[in-house]
Amino acid sequence: MTIFGAILLPVLAIVAVVTIRHYRLILNRLFGAHRQPYLDLSTATWPRATVFIPCRDEKQIGPLMVALLASDYPEGLLTLVPIVDPAFPAAAKVLDDYAVRFPGKVVPFHRARSEGGRGGALREASEHAPGREAPVHLVFDGAYRPGRGLIKQLVAPFFDPEVGGAFSRIVPATIGPILLPRLLDLAGSEASQIGQQARTNLDQTPEVTAPVMGLRRAALEAAGGWSGETEAETLELGYRLAAGGWAIAYQNRAECHEVTSGAWAAYQEEAGRAARGRIQALLRHRGRAGFDALLRLARPLVAVVLILGWLVALAGSYAGDPFAVVSLAVLTIVLFSPLGSLVGFAATAAAARLDGHRARVRILPFQALAGLASTWLAAREALAQLLAKRRKPARQPTRAVAAENRVA
């Protein structure tokens, strides 16, 4: 076997494993039985719950507070604890106004110092803020807009003593005419309808990828609390809960709107943060996570492998290596094909069908562009993270931003 073959064979094997795994999820979601065990739990004696809200942007926090205050959760059982960062005085002022208008219901928690990003803020608040003694903790980031019934839907799984964490489906609040938010909308459908729900059906642990979730306080404490040392704190905590014997409940029929700018720079930052967070979680859990979990956490590394495969196959085909020519053809098909791949055309099409979307699925071919971009971003961040080993959370406010807020 040539050197090209020796490199490309494992690359093709990894791509095959990922493709088979993806197809298993798609087929399960399309034709399998669906588990939604907490869907009909709408009448109950509801427990006390506290919502922790890490705050930075005073423009975002208002609409979120309005949405949370409109919740149909029983009066007197819900406390909202916005976590006020000293670097963002404008947000602090808005939240203090809310505390005056809703005494006892909105109780801001003022941090003395900004440390540890969102995870650090949540750790500090869940250990010291008023309302921390509630049996159920909920987390909402400023960019999310819950519907009236979402709190109940996130709390319902906690009647099951095995459930340590619960999370909902995230859907974009607006979709602009430009390509990126539309592709992200399709990718979000795929992640929820296929990835999360199929994993729930197959008894695999779904992944908490967005900073919107519910937690049993006892589970949070048993798992060691929030971590300020990762950039994907909910993802990492989800794996810690699972490793501790807790179940993670995914509520596919509980949707939460997300406000996104749709700008390339924001997407780049978010995708980079997600990739770094995955690698951080992989490094932390590589010894105890199962095969499927490892494969999911190693997704950014698979992107590295894929790029390596393309480069080697290209070089090999120019060098006249027959195996490399075949591999190049295979990897090209993997990139742009409905056969199923990292890009996940088949999964996205299936998800669009399940969501009842018609016309928007026509832009599916353009997902190859998103696939290329996300593969490159993930590979770049994975390599950077591996080389840097430890890196400060990207969500830490920069000095410039903090100074700007002070001026405001």
Binding site: Y38, A44, F159, D160, V171, P177, R182, G245, R360, R362
Partner: protein
């Protein structure tokens, strides 16, 4: 040069042909509406009934011309209003095609079909073999033997359902729902739902129970105990914890679990056994005679409630959910019952 450019354009055009729908959607989007949040109020059992009530209030307020007459509502829907002369209803072939508004107490004759909604401002009783699309009672509503409801039924007073009835859709009451024998339904919600006479949960006396010793392999996980494999809790035993059992769980007669329980396989509560919290199973849930669950009772397969078994309590509403649910006489649920494939009284 020209032939080459022509060939190039042709090739490019040919290559782009399959992408035409994508390019068209990209340049002239037809589908940019974000996915709507599921309005969970739709999930409330009485949602459709409440909507209908608001509609009637809007288009035909009570003070607007009571009497016996037929007319059209503002939106063109035909209705018949009845104060005294109920015999005008379903006069042709026992079928009434109009919305019916009843202003006074009535006992409707049986063997009739109401193709549109029936709205009763006073107590209403229907005879046997009556078919309703939907029926709303401001006061008590009594459905006779073998009645059928196809969409929803709601009463502000007590809703009583005669034996052998089939209730599709949502059945609800603000006061209580009493079911006869051999009644089939899908979703029901009321402060108390009972097959026959309602019961209150029987609470084992804590002082008379022996404290449970967990098996050596039981593992403490946060606030509960996790037991791998099957577990039998002896009779008259007090379990002062929540349990997660990866196999089958059987709770002995008269025993009390002070927390919640979850079983990955079948979950059985023997006679007079009680779980103070929720009882949840990945398979089947069986409550024997006088057994009770204080919180939610959820099964991913079936739920069977024995005679006088109780879920929830007068001050603690709860949900019972399963694919199929069976209720024996005296079975009582304080809250809501949801059965995806149907529930029935035995």
């Amino acid at each position: 040069m020209l032939p080459f450019l022509g060939f190039l354009l042709l090739t490019l055009g040919w290559g782009l042909l399959p992408l035409l729908p994508a390019i068209r959607e990209l340049l002239a989007p037809q589908d940019l509406t974000p996915l709507e949040l599921t309005d969970r109020s739709i999930g409330k059992i009485s949602y459709l009934a409440r909507n209908f009530r608001q509609y009637i209030d809007r288009v035909l307020p009570q003070e607007a011309g009571a009497g016996d007459y037929a007319a059209k509502l503002m939106d063109g829907t035909e209705f018949v209003r009845v104060t005294r002369r109920a015999e005008q209803l379903a006069s042709q072939g026992n079928v009434e095609p109009r919305v019916v508004v009843l202003d006074a107490p009535h006992s409707l004759p049986g063997d009739r079909t109401y193709l549109m909604e029936v709205y009763a401002r006073a107590p209403l009783t229907s005879g046997a073999e009556t078919n309703y699309r939907a029926v709303y009672g401001e006061k008590e509503l009594t459905l006779g033997d073998s009645n059928r409801v196809f969409r929803w039924a709601h009463a502000n007073g007590t809703l009583t359902v005669g034996p052998h009835s089939v209730l599709r859709g949502r059945i609800s009451s603000e006061t209580g729902l009493t079911l006869g024998a051999d009644v089939v339904f899908e979703r029901a919600g009321a402060p108390v739902i009972a097959f026959g006479k309602e019961r209150e949960p029987s609470l084992p006396s804590r002082a008379e129970l022996l404290t449970w010793n967990p098996p050596a392999a039981a593992q403490k996980v946060g606030d509960h105990l996790r037991v791998e494999g099957d577990l039998d809790i002896p009779k008259d035993t007090l379990v002062p914890a929540s349990l997660v059992v990866t196999g089958r769980l059987r709770i002995g007669a008269g025993s009390l679990v002070e927390g919640s329980v979850k079983a990955h396989r079948d979950l059985e509560l023997s006679e007079r056994a009680r779980v103070a919290g929720a009882a949840i199973t990945r398979a089947r849930l069986a409550l024997a005679e006088h057994a009770s669950v204080g919180g939610a009772a959820l099964a991913e397969r079936s739920v069977r409630m024995g005679r006088n078994a109780v879920v929830g309590g007068p001050a603690s509403p709860a949900s019972v959910a399963g694919v199929e649910i069976e209720l024996s006489e005296g079975a009582t649920v304080y809250g809501q019952i949801s059965a995806r494939r149907g529930a029935r009284t035995l």
